[in-house]
Subunit: 294 residues, 2 copies
């Protein structure tokens, strides 16, 4: 692994994920300077106040040569951001991102980063909370979490090493796979559940007795729909850039739901009990294995 | 409110809810004896060991005259249980239940409880965890939770007072409504989310890369699907006894989901963002109001 020290790191988009990465790298003592970039001053000022970044800039040209640039904006903003950065990158600068969709981002990097494209190593930390913004960031967000790297075939081996080392410093474990595989797996485990949670809350919100429903809902309902409090713009972008795998996952889920509706309408006792018991077993086992592996 | 003291309480089905009610009433110091009943010895022995009940019996005839009988079995077992109890009830005994479905239970009481039917006051504590069994029970389960009573028109006013007083002793707040209204509201806030959680877990469980999916899934996924670890028999019974309102809620949810699929396929950016933002706002407001009212 690459030994990292005295880095100038540029974080573009200092929100929950970008801010937490900045904090974790500061805590690891490997940075000389963390520069925050954003379209607007407000979140940068807050990040400065909180000590999450050392310097705030609004334009890529003002940053100076960076060791690592991390794109941490909503995914659909990344092509423009990459194009804006391309002319200002040093010949050794390593680039990565934190987007929840990888094929779209990798294709954008190919198109928009020019010569630097071989030093771009896409990554996705599987970590987050339902809160957004730099105020919600914290240094231990990535501890014991998985980070998936999806380096292209032409990726510079040294750059891959730098990005992997950077994530290990945050306490994460690093996996590698293709962008396509990442997008299919995440559609099922993360993107689908978010769509389901948003749709479920909207069912109640559009109900004529909406207020009473939200008042009566037990704690379980609020746990269940916690992820429906996630950033709408981020999830709009994920939906629009991972449409194929996500719609596929949603249709599979709808078939599953339809089978339960049919079993209910038919009073099919054995089928219902089997479906519920299988789900309980699968979740309990999955959770036990996950906790065991940490 | 009725002043309760020195009660002999019979709990039929000493699981998470029955056991927690027993503990709460003991802590409140209003019981002379808590008798646990069940079809099998095993859970009763465990309840005795844990000190949740004072005496265990397998047959209603052996209990002696009770002040309060609480039916805490899965809902579809209740008609048989009520029929078995009917000949052994004292003329002052008050009866209630804790089932998640109220129309089915109220109709069963009308049919199966004989003379005692006017002293049956159906209730549903909106509380629980994903764990089941008496080992999972605890005295504070009902604190600050809602309990819904659905007394019939012919219900004895004194019996309603006793049941309401009993629940207040556990720290719950008590509401009243019709069984039909209860079943419609709970279909949306509780029964639907459980069906959705079970279906979502089954989507992953039936996936060819199931094991990898469960390993990769973030903590958010396990929070989201926590309720899919609930007791399958209990949820089978809820599905089979609240079929009409539940299937209606599931179809409304499916329409909501289909609208999101269509917006994704059409790349309808504005619609997606609006749906997600509305859901976030509704959930955040609902939660704030709920926390504010406690």
């Amino acid at each position: 692994m690459a030994k990292l020290s005295s880095l100038r790191v540029v974080i573009v988009g200092v929100g929950l994920i970008g801010g937490s990465l900045a904090r974790a790298l500061k805590d690891a003592g490997v940075t000389r300077e963390i520069v925050g970039m954003s379209r607007g001053r407000e979140s940068l000022d807050r990040a400065l106040e909180l000590g999450v970044i050392d310097r705030a800039e609004l334009a890529p040209g003002a940053v100076g040569t960076a060791d690592i640039v991390v794109f941490a904006t909503p995914v659909r903003a990344m092509p423009d951001v990459m194009r804006a950065f391309a002319p200002h990158l040093g010949t050794q600068t390593v680039l990565t991102d934190v987007g929840s969709v990888k094929k779209f981002v990798c294709e954008a990097a190919e198109r928009c980063l020019g010569q630097a494209r071989t030093r771009f190593v896409a990554s996705h930390p599987i970590a987050g909370t339902e809160h957004s913004g730099v105020e919600a960031s914290f240094a231990s967000l990535f501890e014991n979490r998985s980070v998936i790297l999806t380096p292209g075939e032409g990726a510079d081996a040294g750059a891959v090493e730098v990005v992997e080392s950077m994530w290990r410093l945050t306490g994460a474990r690093v996996l590698r796979m293709s962008p396509e595989r990442h997008d299919e797996l995440l559609a099922a485990t993360s993107h689908l559940p978010h769509m389901v949670a948003y749709a479920l809350v909207n069912c109640l919100a559009k109900h004529p007795q909406s207020e009473e429903l939200f008042r009566l809902a037990a704690g379980g309902f609020y746990d269940f729909t916690r992820i429906a409090s996630s950033d709408p713009v981020m999830w709009r972008d994920i939906g629009l850039t991972n449409t194929g795998p996500l719609v596929q996952a949603m249709k599979t889920f709808r078939n599953e739901l339809d089978a339960v509706i049919r079993a209910l309408e038919a009073g099919d006792e054995a089928r219902l009990q089997e479906e519920f018991a299988n789900a309980k077993r699968a979740r309990d086992q999955g959770l036990a294995r996950k906790n065991g592996s940490q």
